[in-house]
Symmetry: C2
Subunit: 183 residues, 2 copies
DNA sequence: ATATTAGCGAACACTGTGTTCGTTATCATA
DNA sequence: TATGATAACGAACACAGTGTTCGCTAATAT
């Protein structure tokens, strides 16, 4: 891939993340993005159809990255969906979020736009659906699977959001415990 | 209050609700609202500072209405916060939502803007905080109260959202059961 | 070395926002 | 029912943001 393309995409994403950590998605203009990214207006629209598509692509990149990273931290298995313990999967996810090597956390705060947590939740649902152990937990009841999956993913998102909003004082292990006690 | 004021407010709210049931908040323009409401542009801005304030006022009105209605359905108690059973409170809320006499449900769907569920959740948090019985349920654990309150309110919102998205086929009693089993 | 293509900036039409102003119609109330 | 107050009106406005076009320049892959 052309180096110029990589450079502009990176510049735009970084400017966008920076702006998202300062204000709502709705309040961010293309003008602000290209000013921070220091790229031309034409260039922006050559890369992204609209601001919404930029958000979509950013989320895809961020969540791909984090879910990939989590799966690679467990080298015994070649894919996250093959993890033997639900416990380990969600704790790993929390630990990875705790490191915050990408700026994902800033974006998950409740003051920020819900769109991002929406993307996060969609990714989580897939993960949850594969965690049969977790789903079995309250299987005895007559709750439908789709309800359980949505429920567990929502609770995880809300757990992380609470964590971030309260300054992330707790250790990932503590949050994982809260999550397992709640779900 | 001047009849003209009441009439325009009503017309604007109704047009706005109708539009919200069709498309995202972000995609709705003031021009569309005033066209449907059949009021002048000047009039709109005389009533509402911006589109965001309109949403805020609508939510306040809707949620005030529903929480009031729920409290009045239990005439033995003069205020919802004095209900003796958590069970009854949430079931009443679900029953009232099921009737859908105001168009609240359309707005809570996941396809619609998250802003509205946000307002709903804020109202619920107050209610949850007063449901000491419910909070005591898993009190033995070392989970902070603020976590529990946020958790329970979130689960309720997500429960309703799941219900709406799946066509509300279940009875309020069934949904209440799902909720109590999950929370 | 050169053909290709990304990026540039200026200009553009277009849509939506929020305001101003003078006029008309409706209201509360005396 | 007369009257002063005020809500609603439409037209016009400045302004900001969107997304596109065009001709030119500079970086890149081969």
């Amino acid at each position: 891939m052309d180096r110029r393309i990589r450079k502009t995409r990176k510049a735009i994403f970084e400017a966008f993340i920076q702006l998202l950590s300062e204000k709502d998605f709705a309040g961010i203009t293309v003008g602000e993005i290209i000013e921070r990214a220091d790229v031309g207006r034409t260039t922006f629209y050559a890369h992204f159809e609209t601001k919404d598509f930029l958000l979509k692509e950013l989320c895809e990149e961020l969540f791909c990255h984090i879910f990939d990273a989590v799966s690679k931290e467990k080298p015994a298995h070649n894919h996250i969906f093959e993890c033997d313990s639900s416990d380990a999967v969600f704790l790993h996810l929390l630990k990875h979020l705790h490191k915050n090597d990408n700026n994902i956390l800033k974006l998950l705060s409740s003051t920020n736009n819900e769109l991002i947590s929406g993307y996060f939740k969609e990714n989580l649902k897939q993960l949850v659906a594969s965690q049969t152990e977790l789903l079995e937990l309250k299987k005895s009841e007559k709750i439908p699977d789709s309800f359980r999956i949505n429920h567990i993913a929502s609770v995880f998102v809300e757990t992380v959001r609470w964590w971030v909003d309260n300054g992330m004082k707790e250790a990932p292990e503590t949050i994982a415990e809260y999550f397992y006690l709640s779900v």
